[in-house]
């Protein structure tokens, strides 16, 4: 392949230099907004690069919120297809990442609504905090929890036990790796609301983990 020709995955993307053109766009440091602008100009390869970039974080987010692989895959697909249809009209003067995750969140909420897993009052901007059912435990978890072989199973179960509004902030923060400001943009809520929700989510997680450990101890007796 000559320097003027692009490798197959990036197709017709026109980059500034020949060195840039010889590398896959997904691996380059080009911004989401740059790719989105290329999509708006009709570059199919730029959308392909966005899909490659976002499929994993979106799937991880949906998996944690919905708690199942099949639903997460459907939600991820629907999100990316909605992004494809909405991108031509998207505003590129605002960060793309929160916008994409807002779409993903809405898809997940649709699934949860169909399951009737959340009261409608929790779907708002987050001004009113959902009730925290479990009593908040203030003492830290035992150190040996981190060394357990089944840590992933425990964490997955504890996250799944959270109420959806807490589950989504945990998923956005710890699986999609969004900042508090980005999460606030996704939820269209003030940053303080996000901080409070994260705080409560961690308290609820600790309580859930403690509960799971207690169940195991009780079960082995």
């Amino acid at each position: 392949m000559g320097a003027s020709r692009l490798p197959a995955p990036v197709g017709s993307l026109a980059l500034a230099s020949e060195e840039c053109m010889a590398a896959p766009v997904a691996a380059l440091g080009v911004s989401d907004e740059w790719l989105a602008a290329r999509v708006q100009q009709g570059d199919a390869a730029a959308f392909e690069a966005l899909v490659e970039r976002y499929q994993a974080p979106l799937y991880h987010f949906a998996y944690r919120v919905l708690g199942g692989a099949a639903d997460a895959e459907d939600a991820t697909q629907e999100t990316l297809i909605q992004v494809y249809h909405a991108l031509p009209r998207a505003r590129l003067d605002q960060p793309l990442r929160p916008w994409i995750f807002r779409i993903a969140r809405n898809r997940c909420l649709d699934v949860l609504k169909r399951r009737r897993a959340i009261p409608l009052s929790w779907l708002g901007s987050g001004d009113g905090e959902p009730p925290l059912a479990d009593a908040v435990s203030s003492s830290p978890l035992p150190e040996e929890v981190a060394e357990r072989a089944d840590l992933q199973r425990l964490l997955t179960a504890a996250i799944a036990a959270l109420a959806p509004p807490y589950r989504e902030v945990v998923a956005l923060r710890y699986t999609a790796d969004l900042s508090v400001a980005e999460i606030a943009a996704v939820l269209e809520a003030p940053e303080n609301t996000v901080k409070i929700r994260l705080h409560r989510a961690k308290a609820a997680l600790r309580a859930a983990l403690r509960g799971l450990l207690a169940d195991e101890t009780g079960g082995t007796r």
């Binding site: 017709s12 959308f47 499929q55 697909q77 710890y174 961690k202």
Partner: protein, 143 residues
């Protein structure tokens, strides 16, 4: 929640933070991106030839309008005497310089403004309508 409670978040939940940083992502289903791209390319497929045909038809229609209005404008230029005035103005400059305002007023009255505007608009419409064809040719692929 109190301010103190919020400020203490980082320290008071260090144990939970530590565990969450060890949370492993689930494996992404193989072929997920391929399925998305297959669906988006299916979604665009019917629209693309339609847009090309529309651009072609629009361009042709605008070109026909440009030809008709151009012919009519030319005919009116001859019949109204505007063409003769223009020729005189260009060939016999002293005629123009003797009374430039009168010359321009006479020319303004004689010119078939309606047909000239219609011709200009039709040409502009032809350029705009056929722009997608140029983009498709340059890109070599539909979007």
């Amino acid at each position: 929640m109190s301010v103190r409670e919020r400020e203490g978040t980082a320290d008071s939940f260090a144990d939970v933070e530590r565990l969450l940083t060890r949370l492993e992502p689930p494996p992404v289903p193989p072929g997920l991106s391929a399925r998305v791209l297959a669906r988006t390319s299916r979604a665009q497929a019917p629209g693309w030839p339609g847009r090309l045909v529309l651009a072609l038809l629009g361009g042709l229609l605008a070109a026909v309008l440009a030809a008709v209005s151009g012919y009519a404008a030319g005919r009116e230029l001859v019949y109204s005497g505007a063409l003769e005035l223009l020729r005189l103005g260009l060939e016999e400059r002293e005629l123009f310089w003797a009374a430039p305002v009168d010359y321009l007023l006479a020319l303004g009255e004689a010119l078939p403004w309606g047909w000239l505007a219609a011709t200009g608009l039709s040409v502009a419409a032809a350029v705009v309508a056929t722009r997608p064809l140029g983009r498709a040719a340059g890109r070599g692929q539909p979007v």
